[in-house]
C-alpha cells in the first residue's frame, strides 16, 4: 500500500524567517570579535593626527620594549604596494600622510590594554604640508599635490556622451540649471571592522574576514602581502553589517596579516566605534551640476551633468560610483541627449567606498527632485510629467540597457492611485499657514536587478550534495552578510527537491570550500546565486529521477519530487522514499552514484564597451516611492509619516526578507535625507560617535505600505529580480519632494535638518533654495 503525498504549497513567496536569526537574537552568534584562537595576540593601529604631513621621525623603540608587546611595525617594515582601485594606498604609510585615517604603525600585544599602551609610546614628529579639502580647489594649479603619479590630483574620470546636447537645448522650452551638494554619510555597521589573521607553519594565510567578496578579496590582498592568492584561505564568520563597506581590501586587513606573519601567531584586530567612523569608508560625496531641458508638452530634451567627487586621500570604490550614476542620468526616463562627466579629485579628506545604492543614491536624489522641478516649470503635475517620459517595455536606454519588462509607468500609476497623490498634493500645496504642514512627494528610480557585469564574470558557483538521509548540503559562492540569501536559497532548493527546508544546510563561509562568486553587491545575490542554486537543484533532480526511473521502471517525465518522496506526477502516489532511493543509488555496487552536482551560472549580460555602452544586467527594475511628511514650521523638524512602496520585484521569494530589506533601506534613506551627516571639517571627522552622528532610529520609521509588482522576469529564479538597493535609493528624494509640497522650499543639500528648514522659513543664511 503506497502513500499518497499531498501536493505542497509553493514555498516561493512565503514568509520565511532568517535561518541565522534565532542565534543572533539569543546572543549565540560568534562574530570575529568574539573569536579567540590559541596563542592569539591583539593588534592595534596607530593612525596619524595630521591631514597632510611629512613624517620626520617615527620612533617605535619604547613601544617595542614594553613587556607583552610582540611586534611593532611601520611602513619601513612593509612593502609600499598599494591596495584599492588605484593601488594608491599602501597599508602602512611611510614618508607622507594624506588624511586623518592614515595608518602609520601597528602593534601586536598580549592584551588590548598593552597594545593601547604601546601605541601611546610611539613617538612621531611631523612637518605639516599644505592641505586641500575641496575638490574644486584641489584641481587648481596652485593646489597641493597628493600623489606624485597623479598630476593635478585627478583620481578617476568617467564620461559619456549620447545624442547632441546643443540640439536638445535648442528644442527646449524650459532649461533648468541646478547644483546639488551631496554629503558624506557612512555605513554604521553594528559590528565594527574586525579581522583575524593566522599563518600556518607552511606560510599559508587563513584570514577570518568580514569581506563581502571573498574570492577577489584574495586577489586584491595577495600582492601587498607578497604571497600567492592561492595561499590565502578566507573564512567568513557572521558579520554585523556590511552594506558595501566590505567590498574592498582596506589597510587594517593586510596590517593584521603582517602582524601575524611577523609574530607567527594569530592576531585579531578590532575597530573601536570611533575608529569605525573615522577609518571605514564613507558614501561618496558628490557635487553635481546639472542642466536639463524639456518641451512645453513635458518631453525631456537633454541632460548635461558634471560631477565633482571628493576622492579623499586614496581611491576605493567610492570614486567609481559614476559608473552607476551615469546609468540613472542617461537611462531613467527617456532622455534623447545626455552628457555626463565626472572627476574624482584627490583631497586630504578620508575616502569613500562602495555603499548600498552605489552612486544611484546620489543620482536619484538629483534626478527625482529635478523631475519635480521640471514638472513645475512646464506646468504639469508630478505624475503626468513622469508618465509622459516613462519608457515602455522593450525600450533600450542610450547606454544599451534593454528594459525588457519595464514597469516604470505601472509603478508611477499604482503609487499615485494607492496614495490619492494628486488630490493630496494639490490640497497640501494650498495650505500656507499653520504650524504643522503636510506634504506628499514621489520619487522613482531604475537599478540593475539581474547582476551587473563590471568584472569579467558576474557568475556564481554552486555545489549541491545529498547524503544517505536525503539531507542536502548546498555550497554556494555567495556570501551571507545579513541580506538573507541563506533563507532564499533554502526556499529555492526545497522547492525544487521537494524536501523540508530544515533538511538543507547552506555552506558559504570558506573560500577553500566554496566555488567562485564575484561578491555580494549590485543587488545581485538572489538573482545570480538563486539561479545557481536552482539550476544545481534541477540537475540533482534529473539525476534522482533517472535513478528512480531505473529502480521503479516508470518514465522519469511521469515522476516528481514531493514531501521527501519520488511520486507519480498524476496522482501523487509515492513510488519510493527519497532517502531510500539515495541509499540504493549509493550502495549499488559498480553502478554506485552519489548526488553531487555543480553549476556555474553566468548571467546573460555584457560588459560595457566604448562610451560605457552595454546591456550590463540580465534584468532592470524600477520603483516609485511616495513619502508623506509633516513639517513643524516652528522647529523645522520633518517627520515622515508614511512611505508607500511600489517596486517591480519580478517575484517575491521571501516575504519577510523583502520587507526586511525595504524597511532597512528606508531607515538608511531617511538617515541620508534627514539626519545623517558625517561632518568632515578641514579633513577631521567631527562627529565620530552614535551620539553625534544621527542614524534614523525606530521612532523615525514611518508606516510602510507595500505594493509589489510581480511580472516574473524571464531570466530570474522563479521570476525574481534583485531588489535590495532601490529601498535605500528612492525614499530620500521622495521626502525632499514632500517637504517642498509642504513648505515650498527645495533642499539640494541633504540632510534636510531642522536647522536648514528653520533657516529657510525664519530667514538666515544657508537654508534651502526658496
Amino acid at each position: 500500500m503506497m502513500d499518497q503525498i499531498a501536493e505542497q504549497i509553493s514555498l516561493i513567496g512565503q514568509r520565511i524567517p532568517k535561518p541565522d536569526g534565532a542565534a543572533k537574537v539569543l546572543g549565540r552568534t560568534q562574530y570575529i570579535n568574539d573569536m579567540v584562537l590559541h596563542r592569539m595576540l591583539i593588534g592595534k593601529i596607530l593612525r596619524t593626527d595630521r591631514v597632510h604631513a611629512r613624517i620626520l621621525r617615527l620612533d617605535i623603540s619604547k613601544a617595542a620594549a614594553l613587556p607583552g608587546v610582540h611586534a611593532v611595525i611601520t611602513g619601513d617594515d612593509t612593502p609600499m604596494i598599494g591596495i584599492g582601485v588605484n593601488k594608491d594606498n599602501p597599508p602602512l604609510k611611510s614618508g607622507t600622510v594624506r588624511c586623518i585615517r592614515d595608518e602609520i604603525a601597528a602593534v601586536a600585544a598580549e592584551t588590548e590594554a598593552i597594545a593601547d599602551q604601546a601605541l601611546a609610546l610611539i613617538e612621531v614628529e611631523y612637518e605639516d604640508l599644505p592641505a586641500v579639502f575641496d575638490p574644486a580647489e584641489a584641481l587648481e594649479d596652485s593646489a597641493p599635490q597628493l600623489h606624485e603619479d597623479k598630476p593635478g590630483n585627478v583620481g578617476l574620470s568617467y564620461n559619456i556622451s549620447y545624442g547632441d546636447i546643443a540640439a536638445g537645448e535648442a528644442e527646449s522650452d524650459v532649461v533648468l540649471d541646478e547644483t546639488y551638494d551631496l554629503h558624506y554619510v557612512t555605513h554604521c555597521c553594528m559590528g565594527p571592522g574586525c579581522v583575524l589573521a593566522e599563518f600556518d607553519a607552511m606560510g599559508k594565510l587563513t584570514i577570518y574576514s568580514q569581506t563581502q567578496y571573498p574570492y577577489n578579496f584574495k586577489m586584491d590582498l595577495a600582492p601587498t602581502l607578497g604571497i600567492h592568492p592561492g595561499d590565502i584561505r578566507v573564512i567568513q564568520p557572521p558579520v554585523g553589517g556590511a552594506f558595501g563597506s566590505k567590498l574592498d581590501v582596506y589597510p587594517f586587513e593586510p596590517i593584521c596579516a603582517f602582524l601575524a606573519q611577523k609574530t607567527r601567531r594569530p592576531v585579531k584586530l578590532v575597530f573601536s566605534r570611533e575608529e569605525e567612523f573615522i577609518a571605514s569608508p564613507t558614501r561618496q560625496p558628490v557635487r553635481a551640476h546639472i542642466r536639463a531641458g524639456a518641451k512645453k508638452d513635458g518631453t525631456l530634451t537633454f541632460r548635461d551633468v558634471n560631477c565633482l567627487l571628493n576622492n579623499g586621500g586614496y581611491t576605493s570604490w567610492g570614486a567609481t560610483v559614476p559608473y552607476v550614476m551615469m546609468r540613472t542620468f542617461s537611462g531613467h526616463f527617456r532622455v534623447p541627449n545626455v552628457e555626463f562627466k565626472s572627476t574624482a579629485v584627490y583631497t586630504n579628506n578620508p575616502f569613500a567606498g562602495s555603499f548600498r545604492g552605489y552612486g544611484n543614491v546620489q543620482a536619484t536624489y538629483v534626478t527625482a527632485t529635478l523631475m519635480d522641478k521640471m514638472a513645475e516649470a512646464v506646468g504639469m503635475n508630478p505624475i503626468a510629467f513622469r508618465l509622459k517620459n516613462a519608457q515602455e517595455p522593450g525600450e533600450v536606454t542610450p547606454q544599451g540597457s534593454l528594459l525588457k519588462d519595464c514597469a516604470l509607468a505601472d509603478c508611477i500609476t499604482i503609487a499615485a492611485e494607492k496614495t490619492d497623490f494628486l488630490k493630496i498634493y494639490a490640497a497640501n500645496a494650498k495650505v500656507e499657514t499653520g504650524r504643522y504642514r503636510r506634504g506628499i512627494g514621489i520619487a522613482t528610480s531604475l537599478h540593475n536587478a539581474g547582476g551587473a557585469k563590471i568584472h569579467k564574470s558576474d557568475g556564481c558557483g554552486t555545489i549541491l550534495t545529498m547524503d544517505d538521509y536525503a539531507r542536502v548540503t548546498l555550497i554556494t559562492g555567495a556570501s551571507e552578510i545579513g541580506q538573507g540569501i541563506d533563507a532564499v536559497i533554502t526556499q529555492i532548493v526545497a522547492e525544487e527537491l521537494g524536501v523540508p527546508m530544515a533538511s538543507i544546510t547552506i555552506v558559504n563561509d570558506d573560500s577553500a570550500i566554496g566555488p567562485w562568486d564575484v561578491g555580494v553587491h549590485a543587488s545581485r545575490t538572489t538573482f545570480i546565486a538563486g539561479n545557481g542554486a536552482r539550476r544545481a537543484a534541477i540537475k540533482a533532480k534529473a539525476q534522482i529521477l533517472a535513478a528512480a526511473s531505473k529502480e521503479a521502471n516508470v518514465p522519469a517525465e511521469e515522476m516528481e519530487l514531493r514531501g521527501g518522496h519520488v511520486v507519480q506526477s498524476d496522482n501523487g502516489v509515492s513510488i519510493i522514499r527519497l532517502d531510500r532511493l539515495l541509499r540504493a543509488m549509493h550502495f549499488a555496487g559498480e553502478d554506485a552514484e552519489l548526488v553531487m552536482v555543480t553549476d556555474y551560472y553566468e548571467p546573460p549580460s555584457e560588459p560595457e564597451g566604448d562610451n560605457h555602452y552595454g546591456d550590463m544586467s540580465a534584468a532592470y527594475a524600477h520603483a516609485a516611492y511616495v513619502a508623506e511628511v509633516e513639517v513643524d514650521t516652528m522647529t523645522g523638524h520633518v517627520r515622515v509619516e508614511k512611505m508607500t512602496v511600489v517596486q517591480d520585484v519580478g517575484r517575491v521569494v521571501n516575504g519577510l526578507g523583502i520587507e526586511g530589506q525595504i524597511e532597512g533601506g528606508i531607515a538608511m534613506s531617511i538617515g541620508y535625507g534627514l539626519t545623517e551627516d558625517l561632518r568632515i571639517e578641514k579633513g577631521i571627522v567631527k562627529n565620530p560617535s552614535f551620539r553625534d552622528y544621527k542614524v534614523a532610529t525606530a521612532p523615525e520609521m514611518p508606516e510602510i505600505a507595500y505594493h509589489f509588482i510581480e511580472n516574473d522576469t524571464p531570466e530570474g529564479p522563479f521570476g525574481a529580480k534583485g531588489i535590495a538597493e532601490l529601498p535605500a535609493i528612492v525614499p530620500a528624494p521622495a521626502i525632499a519632494n514632500a517637504v517642498y509640497n509642504a513648505i515650498g522650499v527645495r533642499f539640494d543639500n541633504p540632510p534636510i535638518t531642522p536647522e536648514k528648514v528653520a533657516r529657510a522659513l525664519h530667514g538666515g543664511q544657508d537654508g534651502g533654495d526658496q
Partner: protein, 288 residues
C-alpha cells in the same frame, strides 16, 4: 585603565569621608550612565568609585513641608512611578523621563544629571524653574544650595572636596501652579538637547501670572535661570505680547557655541520658539 577600587558605604558621612580622603581621585557613582561612559573613553580615570545607591537618603522620595525631597540617586523610572510627585511637578518628572531610553531610565538620576554638569542636561532647567534646592553633605556638615548654583561650567561644579548631593528638594506649590519642560532634538528620541526650556509659574484667581521661573539649557556653559524671561510673564495672562517678550528674553539670554549640534543662530531662534510652547503648557497646567 588603572586598578579601580569600589566602595558602597551605607551612610553619607562615610561616603563623604571616602571622597574627601581620596584627594580628587574618587568619583561618586549614582546610576553610572554618565560616569561609566566617561571612564570607558578615559575622560575621567578615577581610582575609587563610591557607590551611593546603598544610602537610604539618596534612594527615597519623601514629602516634606508640603514639597518633595527626592534622593539624589533615585532613578528616572521611579520618579515617574510616584504619582504625587508627578502630579505636583509634572515638568520636572517629564524632563527626568526624557533622559535616555527605558534601559537608561532604570539608572539615570537627578543627582547624576545635575552633578555631571553638562549644559545640555535635561532635568536641570526644569529643576531650576521649579526652584529646586540641592542638599549637599560634606566633611563640614550640610548646606542647601540652589540647583542653578551647582554647575559652574561644562563638567565643573561648585561642590567642594568631599561634598555629595544627598537629595533635591522640590518646594511646596501655591494653588494654580504648573510647570513644563521641552527640549529640541533633531530626532524623536535618544538624542541630546540642542536647546531645553523649563518654566514654572503660578496664577492668581483671574489667571494672571503672579510668579514665574524660567530655566534654559544647552545654550550657555551652564543651565541658566533667566529672570528677564520670568519678568516677561509676571503680570500677564500670557498674551501674545508677553509671549513675544518671553521669546525675546530667552533668545537674548542664549550664548551658545557653534557646534555639531547646531549653530548659534539656530539655537537662539529655537530657544524662543520652545519657550513659548513651554509657557503655554505650564499655563494650561496651572489653570487646571
Amino acid at each position: 585603565m588603572a586598578d579601580i577600587q569600589y566602595q558602597a558605604p551605607e551612610d553619607l558621612a562615610a561616603a563623604s569621608a571616602l571622597l574627601a580622603g581620596a584627594g580628587g581621585k574618587a568619583r561618586i557613582l549614582a546610576g553610572g550612565t554618565d560616569l561609566l561612559v566617561q571612564m570607558k573613553f578615559d575622560v575621567v580615570e578615577p581610582t575609587l568609585l563610591i557607590d551611593i545607591k546603598n544610602i537610604a537618603e539618596t534612594r527615597t522620595i519623601a514629602e516634606e513641608d508640603g514639597g518633595f525631597r527626592v534622593g539624589a540617586a533615585v532613578p528616572g523610572a521611579e520618579l515617574g512611578e510616584d504619582a504625587a510627585l508627578a502630579a505636583a511637578w509634572p515638568g520636572v518628572v517629564e524632563a527626568a523621563e526624557l533622559i535616555g531610553s527605558t534601559q537608561v531610565q532604570g539608572r539615570a538620576s537627578l543627582g547624576g544629571n545635575l552633578c555631571n554638569a553638562s549644559p545640555a542636561a535635561d532635568s536641570v532647567p526644569a529643576m531650576i524653574a521649579a526652584g529646586a534646592v540641592a542638599r549637599v553633605i560634606g566633611p563640614d556638615g550640610q548646606r542647601d544650595v540652589a540647583v542653578e548654583d551647582i554647575a559652574t561650567g561644562p563638567g565643573k561644579t561648585s561642590l567642594a572636596s568631599g561634598e555629595i548631593v544627598a537629595s533635591i528638594f522640590l518646594p511646596k506649590r501655591p494653588a494654580n501652579s504648573g510647570d513644563a519642560y521641552l527640549r529640541f532634538i533633531p530626532r524623536t528620541e535618544m538624542d541630546i538637547a540642542v536647546v531645553g526650556v523649563g518654566i514654572s509659574l503660578s496664577l492668581d484667581g483671574d489667571g494672571v501670572c503672579t510668579a514665574a521661573r524660567v530655566g534654559l539649557g544647552a545654550v550657555a556653559p551652564t543651565a541658566l535661570l533667566v529672570d528677564a524671561a520670568a519678568d516677561a510673564l509676571i503680570g500677564s495672562k500670557l498674551d501674545e505680547a508677553a509671549m513675544d517678550n518671553l521669546a525675546a528674553a530667552v533668545s537674548a539670554a542664549c550664548s551658545p557655541i557653534d557646534d555639531k549640534r547646531g549653530t548659534v543662530e539656530f539655537r537662539t531662534d529655537i530657544a524662543g520658539v520652545l519657550a513659548r510652547r513651554v509657557a503655554s503648557i505650564a499655563f494650561t497646567r496651572a489653570g487646571k
